[in-house]
Symmetry: C2
């Protein structure tokens, strides 16, 4: 039984939900993150009736799926929070058709929880069961608890193709985090259910939709083997890594592949989001995973399926939490998490841009500043070039700084490792250029250094303009 008898009256078909609840609503929130456990039925209503949602504000838990973004394609969205996963929504934001603020994952949940805006009309989430205590979620917790808190009504899609995933989640109210502490990253401090005021439940819909892969993440870069090798040597040689130290590995294909090459066993992973394939490593390479969602990379659907079928075997090793826990500066700092953060580009002093390509937003800042501001050590990890080697990802100056230089301890590319600790900005530049820049760009960057006048954080605007024109 997926719902208690007293909620049976709430079960509706999508057309009724549209007519009775959604039609002409001004703001709507969707749970789901990294394409995982995104609602599957309600978005189709938007696709069918775009004219009733003109100018709507859309909140989501994180990056969504191709199907979701496809359903949103014909809607005029006035505001979108806070993370993008497809070209159309990116274009709308960059063209000024849709307003968007790229909050960090933690800040977003926090602002939602602080009631800093008008209540959202409706939140829609995917669950595996509703029982008398609350909602048993699926493979993503993400911002769903915060979105439910900030919404007037809640629509639940119960996905019957999944098992009831009781015991995988650890859900705490944002305000009671302080009352608890994590002894181990796996120690549960909250409840197995998302507890909400049941009067808020406006409708329940049954779905059978299968999961898609995450729309935001591409294939691993060709240089992935060398990047991985350099990362694991950096951990080993520079910080004498021990597997008692929790590691955060950012989301996406680099992150996923990194673990394949890990020479360490029994890793403790404290992260925002974990690829399903990592569940295969439990018991040897990985000991524990604490994340906000388990997501599926392209071609890795089988791992998600297998994990769901056998999730009880992992209940002592994997736990899913709200992202105000996974991304909390308080907890990241307290646990001493070692942070491996991906970036689009960095400047020669170590500041990073993770969100923009020139003036255009790509996905958004995600959890970068949450982890980088509070991690025990912070390494920026990326290939040295982009666009098939045509441009350097290490540049004289950034137009968009998401992570300031002071927070960054190491830079790692396929070329090598830069250790920035205790170095002056000019020494940092030399260290980065010498060890991390691709040979095709090394001379140009060293030449740029010659154009710099005095100053602690020097730049030469004319040379920067030339650099950007090349």
């Amino acid at each position: 039984m997926r719902i208690p008898p007293k909620l049976e009256s709430k079960v509706m078909d999508p057309e009724d939900v549209f007519k009775k609840i959604l039609k002409n609503k001004k703001s709507i929130a969707f749970g789901g993150m990294g394409g995982q456990s995104v609602p599957k039925i309600i978005p189709l209503i938007f696709k069918e009736h775009p004219q009733y949602f003109k100018g709507i504000q859309v909140y989501s838990g994180g990056g969504m799926t191709k199907s979701f973004d496809d359903a949103m394609r014909n809607i005029e969205i006035s505001r979108r929070f806070y993370y993008l996963s497809d070209k159309k929504s990116r274009d709308d934001v960059n063209n000024g058709k849709t307003m968007m603020m790229d909050y960090s994952v933690y800040k977003y949940s926090k602002l939602l929880s602080l009631n800093s805006m008008d209540k959202i009309d409706v939140a829609v989430l995917e669950a595996t069961e509703v029982n008398s205590k609350g909602i048993i979620l699926s493979l993503s917790v993400d911002a769903t608890p915060a979105l439910c808190n900030a919404s007037k009504k809640i629509i639940i899609e119960i996905n019957r193709s999944k098992p009831v995933l009781t015991g995988l989640h650890d859900i705490t109210d944002i305000n009671s985090v302080r009352e608890h502490q994590f002894k181990k990253i796996i120690s549960r401090i909250g409840k197995r259910e998302l507890r909400i005021n049941q009067n808020k439940i406006a409708a329940i819909i049954y779905s059978d939709g299968s999961e898609e892969s995450a729309a935001s993440y591409g294939k691993p870069p060709e240089e992935i083997n060398s990047i991985a090798e350099n990362i694991w040597s950096m951990l080993d040689e520079k910080i004498k890594f021990k597997n008692t130290m929790p590691v955060q590995v950012g989301a996406g294909s680099i992150a996923s592949s990194l673990i394949d090459k890990s020479p360490f066993n029994d890793l403790k992973i404290w992260c925002e989001i974990a690829p399903a394939r990592w569940t295969e490593y439990i018991g040897h390479k990985i000991k524990y995973i604490s994340a906000s969602a388990i997501y599926t990379l392209q071609g890795e659907e089988v791992y998600t399926k297998k994990f769901m079928e056998n999730y009880l075997d992992y209940s002592g090793n994997i736990v899913l939490r709200p992202n105000y826990i996974t991304n909390s500066p308080e907890i990241i700092s307290g646990l001493g998490v070692i942070v491996l953060q991906q970036a689009i580009e960095i400047d020669i002093f170590g500041s990073a841009n993770v969100s923009h390509i020139r003036e255009n937003i790509y996905n958004g800042v995600g959890g970068s500043i949450d982890f980088c501001s509070s991690g025990k050590y912070v390494a920026i990890v990326m290939p040295s070039t982009a666009m098939n080697g045509k441009i350097s990802r290490i540049v004289p100056m950034l137009s968009c700084v998401d992570i300031p230089r002071m927070l960054v301890d190491f830079v790692v590319t396929e070329i090598g490792i830069a250790d920035l600790r205790w170095k002056d900005p000019r020494e940092r530049a030399v260290e980065i250029i010498k060890n991390c820049v691709h040979p095709n760009f090394k001379d140009s960057l060293l030449r740029y250094m010659n154009y710099l006048n005095a100053g602690h954080l020097p730049y030469n605007i004319n040379e920067i303009i030339k650099w950007n024109k090349n």
Copy 2:
């Protein structure tokens, strides 16, 4: 008795300390912060024998005093960590004579505690007593515990002109923070003494030097009354401030004057450093102060003196802690501190520069990123102009970003309040220009907006160059 009998053999005069311990040493650390409790005797040795300290590395707990900087004036310092307080040391850094990395207050203590570099030869600190348990410090705890941990030897200056300040400090090891939690900001979790391995004590010197005012902080700006009014309305109207919420007020003259104008009573101040004058407010405007040091602003020497004479009266209300506690993201985030952060300039999207004037460093980043990344709400607070109104502190683009835009919720100047929450970058720009920019620059910035092409975070480099030439 200021020292136990078994340490009497360590008492030396300065000339002996020079000959037996300091001569030709390569690295030295000085406790003290914001000009408070900076060692007074040892710096004079540097002044007298500059030729024996060529190329030395100097670490300090924070900003120092005029006397200290004066004593360092003739030394060739190869490296300086991590905060500057006078023109000469600034010039040396900006001219490339002295290398310097402007770590945040917390990161600095953390890197020192992680043993991420060669041990420092000697740490020098001011104390009021050494007893069998440890060292009773003076009015600054700052990075002293971390510096002692990172140093091979310790020299203690006991200042006999001060009372033995037992009971004012709360000193915890950086690694045991997690084992404790603060119920109230005043709850003590550590020891009254700084506990060190007594074998590290290389010398004890008696001093009688009186305190100076902090070298880093100038006079409050003329607009201070209007800035203060706007801040207190922002707290009242925008976040429904209650005096159960701890507030951080940045260091310096604006900070100090802010409290004078506070309409709230019983404030709980959780900050890096507190001006001595605030101690006068205990019992009405202020209930508790937790800080790393109590510093003296120019002309306010009398408050420091009075506080020291009657410090026991305040022992339930004021506590001094290491700056890895005051500036810990874990604790700031856990307590939900409301952050009022000063800046040199901001861009139109809300990112802030707190450390540089063009390519030249001013003081350093201080605790800005520590507080801004973890605070419950973050407001950037500054006058709208600099150089007697000649330049706007709100500019199209920053060359140095210390605090990225996503972290900032409000901007407050003497002109008004900008509420940036849930706003798109372009909306943020309009909000800031409309509410916070000085009338003399409003039209130029609005005109700049017209030159922007599409894009989520747009800029126009040619117009920026023109702006900087004006």
